[in-house]
């Protein structure tokens, strides 16, 4: 009989651990589902904004030769937020501290909370004798200070990408410094696939920074992290 008693007592001791483990698994499952839903919603909304960026821009679109493409900023932003609203996504503008437009020749930052657009920061490299202007194409423009002449030269792709990357990072850092919540914000660029960034900056795009702190289940988990949704690639099925 003693054995039965001890077995039952052992089981009773173990039971709360089983229950706890089961509850934790369930909580984790719902948390992961919610996270997937949030990420999917933002990815889709970013894609929609990317589509708007391409569709509603003035002039015919050619990502590799788009000097005079006019980004319809408000239309792109509206499409992003409309897309979230229509998915029953509850958000405030505080959840989106920054939206960045990666343009053909520079980067423009948009502050969703204040509804303000910053000035375009061009992809440039300044030297003592000249200044190099880079674009998403494989060409660069060199302005010579002494002669005042502008010449077109071919750009080395990895160097071009590093200049664009530097410009974007500098702008993000400057924005972070000027932000009221600078202690909390970290604007990290999306992790790109592959080791080389040669194919990353070959088209205009949008980077959405999102702070999921206000969501149930996610509360406190990623409070200090802002998730970029990635630079949207414009490889659409239809050639506009």
């Amino acid at each position: 009989m003693g054995m039965v008693k001890y077995s039952v007592l052992a089981l009773l001791i173990m039971l709360p651990f089983f229950m706890q483990s089961s509850i934790q698994n369930t909580q984790h499952k719902y948390m992961e589902r919610q996270r997937t839903w949030i990420e999917q919603s933002i990815d889709e909304a970013s894609y929609d904004a990317g589509f708007a960026l391409k569709t509603y821009s003035t002039y015919a679109y050619d990502s590799h030769n788009a000097y005079h493409i006019q980004i319809a900023y408000q239309e792109v932003i509206r499409n992003f937020f409309d897309s979230l609203t229509m998915r029953n996504f509850r958000y405030t503008r505080q959840d989106f501290p920054l939206i960045a437009f990666v343009e053909y020749d520079g980067i423009v930052l948009y502050n969703p909370q204040e509804n303000t657009l910053g000035e375009k920061k061009f992809y440039t490299q300044q030297e003592t004798t000249h200044c190099e202007y880079y674009t998403l194409s494989d060409k660069k423009w060199v302005y010579n200070y002494s002669t005042g002449l502008v010449t077109q030269e071919s750009a080395e792709i990895n160097h071009k990408n590093s200049i664009i990357m530097q410009t974007i990072e500098q702008e993000l850092n400057a924005y972070q410094q000027n932000s009221q919540e600078k202690q909390r914000m970290r604007f990290n660029l999306p992790e790109f696939e592959g080791e080389s960034s040669t194919y990353v900056f070959d088209d205009v795009g949008i980077i959405i920074f999102y702070d999921p702190k206000s969501y149930a289940y996610l509360d406190g988990i990623e409070t200090y992290r802002i998730i970029p949704s990635g630079i949207m690639k414009m490889d659409l099925a239809i050639d506009l």
Partner: protein, 165 residues
């Protein structure tokens, strides 16, 4: 003597819970996860197809319904089409959306065959289970429900990328 019997009965109940009930709940929960992932994948596929082609027709919906039926549960499929419209106010062009919902879309498909969308509209598919899943019913029996809402609720959609509806 009575005490001994009580210990035995108690031990038996605990044994049954641990050997039969717990693994069954666990396996039902895994089944739910598999169904959830399947429904999510198929719902995403349908919404992508609709938004890329700019149209909805019966075969598209039948394909989703067929997959949903194989899961052994019943579902409610909601369709939502937000048509982009423009209005002018004080010399400024305003954008607004006009919603067309499940019943109207189905009625249109019945009458005309294909429901067409325009590029720039929004289209969403929402799928939720209306019958309880096995793990839900098991939890209800044991009254350890916790989550009472739909176990499966998927929303998929976004901007329509092609179409001149």
């Amino acid at each position: 003597m009575i005490e001994e019997s009580l210990w035995k009965i108690f031990g038996l109940i605990l044994g049954v819970v641990l050997i039969f009930v717990a693994p069954t709940i666990y396996s039902y929960q895994r089944q739910d996860d598999i169904v959830y992932n399947l429904v999510m994948a198929k719902t995403n596929e349908l919404s992508q197809k609709i938004r890329e082609s700019g149209k909805v027709n019966q075969p598209m919906l039948d394909e989703l319904n067929h997959i949903l039926r194989t899961s052994g549960l019943t579902y409610e499929v909601e369709l939502e089409h937000q048509q982009k419209r423009f209005s002018e106010e004080d010399g400024r062009m305003e954008v607004y959306y006009e919603g067309v919902y499940t019943q109207d879309i189905y009625a249109w498909i019945q009458a005309n065959g294909t429901y067409r969308l325009s590029s720039g509209d929004f289209f969403y598919v929402r799928v939720r289970n209306t019958s309880v899943t096995k793990s839900q019913s098991f939890r209800d029996i044991l009254d350890i429900g916790g989550v009472k809402s739909n176990e499966i609720y998927i929303v998929s959609g976004g901007i329509v990328r092609y179409g001149n509806g």
